[in-house]
């Protein structure tokens, strides 16, 4: 069986500084796969590379066996990859639910003609998208904001809204970039439940996270980055006992 996401010898340099260097790993379908490491280790850069926002300096990324080198982020989305951001990317010029409905973009193909005359087909599609979006907001736990403007939402709720938007696209793999950052203990616990629920649906989850307790609890495998390089890779139990990881995290 081929891996869903496979990264081979990935390298990204910003003007001589290597943010990611020689990184290789593979994520099997259905896994929860986490990337951890200290600040500046290159985790977000790695996610930006995988989702096509950055172009690699060297190396290759395969999605379902297909090279992503020539694909734009929106084309990766068409192939089932979606993500959230550490620095949240919410459209503040829209309502909360419209942000989630945006996630339905690929499922809602409508012609300009249908749109301009607002034909019944469009209206039906919109109503279905609205319902689906409302359900998803409920699912991620921000259902009380269905009628709200995005700008009126709390930080924690916006983080969930991003997850709902990504799920609306019906991804095969979802990349969550520090979803727990800035959340309190209760919210983090709820997030853990949510990630489990998502994984149970059969969606592959890739996670960048600082919260060790969260990561160790839900991940099938982990990748530890340090200064852009792979320090260790393995199951949570293996990582916990890896001397390099212990040195980096405890000794420094």
């Amino acid at each position: 069986m081929t891996a869903l996401v496979e990264v081979k010898g990935l390298d990204k340099a910003f003007g001589g500084v290597h943010a990611v260097e020689g990184v290789s790993f593979a994520v099997e379908a259905g896994q929860v796969y986490s990337v951890i490491g200290p600040n500046g280790a290159g985790k977000t850069t790695l996610f930006n590379l995988i989702t096509g926002l950055y172009i690699p300096t060297k190396g290759e990324i395969l999605l379902n066996g297909e090279s992503t080198a020539k694909l734009e982020p929106n084309q990766l989305a068409e192939r089932g990859m979606c993500r959230t951001f550490q620095q949240m990317q919410i459209c503040m010029n829209m309502t909360a639910i419209e942000n989630v409905m945006l996630g339905r973009h690929l499922q809602l193909k409508s012609s300009l003609f249908t749109t301009l005359f607002r034909l019944p087909a469009l209206r039906r599609g919109e109503e279905a998208a609205y319902k689906r979006a409302a359900d998803l907001m409920e699912y991620v736990g921000c259902g009380e904001y269905v009628g709200a403007e995005a700008s009126a939402m709390s930080y924690g709720a916006l983080k969930r809204l991003e997850v709902a938007r990504a799920l609306a696209a019906e991804p095969k793999v979802i990349l969550l970039d520090e979803p727990a950052a800035g959340l309190n203990a209760t919210e983090t616990a709820a997030l853990e439940d949510l990630i489990r629920k998502i994984a149970d649906q059969g969606i592959t989850v890739m996670l960048v996270e600082h919260d060790m307790k969260l990561v160790m609890g839900i991940s099938d495998r982990l990748l530890v980055l340090n200064y852009g390089r792979v320090l260790a890779e393995g199951t949570p139990a293996e990582i916990r006992q890896n001397p390099d990881v212990i040195a980096a995290y405890l000794g420094g």
């Binding site: 929106n74 989305a77 990317q89 919410i90 996630g103 973009h105 409508s110 269905v146 938007r165 696209a169």
Partner: protein, 335 residues
């Protein structure tokens, strides 16, 4: 919830229709009707421009170029070559749409001030061509444009018409026609905004990365809205040419482009009805200020500056926010 969400757009459209019906009660002479008709046509133009600027967040400082191209295409096709009006308007819109698509592709990769520079340049180039190709356009002196006609029926500002037995003047007939066009332009715009395409457009403004990772081809949508707004401008330019009966390259000038974008920003970016208010204010203001004679320019600049400083969101959004705040205070809860 869902129904209220869907119906708020139609309510706005009905209010606009009502206003357009009531307005003639305040118009007492042909000049008033002329002004009202111009406002309706230019209003429809900026409704289209607002799709680009207000919703998709892309600046255009050269939109009068497309307006002028539409005007001249119609003028030349009907005047010089004797085409009927409707084909002239439609073919003109297609040609302008293609031009917008060709220049839009590379231009729309630019961001912020570089985009404003590039659109400004496109507008200028069009205006310069219209000014200099005297053999075709009549040059700076302009050219006459025949009256609007469909299957031999003419709509001229100087004609008289009968409507349900009532005798109405040419400018009155034009006002009705332009009002209908404005309503249609608004209806199309509202339909577009509240749709998957419209959400994709707005997401380009809200967060381009977020849009792209959920599958929105942002470059395609930017081009699309650029073309749509150019087609709006072209069609309205054509109607404007017919209505005025005479056009000069001023319709494509930088000043006109600035006027359009100012209507959008002053009225309220992203507010379809707001930008129409912007058109009303900026067309009427010079009339009001004309009484101040040589102070006109000073006052115009001052009012423009002060409004934008104190109402950066634009007239209509600021007013509605103030009204709803007041209402909330009265009801004592959150509405």
């Amino acid at each position: 919830m869902l129904n209220r969400f869907m119906q708020s757009r139609l309510r706005g459209l009905m209010v606009l229709a009502l206003i357009l019906i009531i307005i003639p009660a305040f118009l007492s002479n042909p000049f008033h009707y002329e002004l009202a008709t111009q406002i309706a046509i230019i209003g429809a133009t900026v409704v289209g421009l607002n799709l680009l600027v207000g919703f998709a967040g892309q600046i255009s400082l050269g939109h009068a170029g497309f307006f002028g191209l539409g005007a001249y295409f119609t003028g030349i096709a009907t005047g010089t070559y004797g085409w009927p009006s409707v084909p002239a308007l439609l073919v003109g819109a297609i040609v302008v749409g293609i031009i917008a698509w060709v220049v839009g592709r590379p231009i729309l990769r630019l961001k912020g001030h570089y985009l404003s520079m590039a659109t400004l340049a496109v507008g200028f180039i069009i205006a310069i061509i219209l000014n200099n190709e005297r053999a075709i356009t009549g040059g700076p002196d302009g050219m006459p444009v025949p009256a609007f006609e469909v299957f031999g029926w003419e709509l001229s500002s100087f004609g008289t018409y009968s409507l349900f037995g009532l005798e109405i003047s040419g400018v009155q007939a034009w006002y009705m026609f332009a009002s209908g066009v404005l309503l249609l332009a608004v209806w199309f715009a509202l339909n577009l905004i509240e749709s998957p395409i419209g959400r994709a457009l707005r997401s380009v403004h809200g967060s381009e990365v977020a849009a792209s990772v959920v599958g929105v081809d942002t470059a395609k949508y930017k081009s699309l809205v650029f073309v749509i707004s150019a087609i709006y401008a072209s069609l309205m330019g054509g109607l404007y040419a017919h209505f005025q009966g005479f056009i000069t390259p001023a319709v494509a000038s930088f000043e006109f482009s600035i006027l359009f974008i100012t209507m959008v920003v002053l009225g309220g970016m992203g507010s379809t009805f707001g930008v129409i208010l912007g058109a009303v204010v900026l067309k009427l203001l010079p009339q009001v200020l004309a009484d101040f004679q040589e102070l006109e320019t000073v006052m115009f600049g001052l009012i423009l500056m002060l409004t934008m400083i104190f109402m950066p969101k634009g007239l209509l959004p600021t007013l509605t926010a103030a009204v709803s705040k007041r209402l909330r205070k009265k009801t004592g809860g959150k509405a």
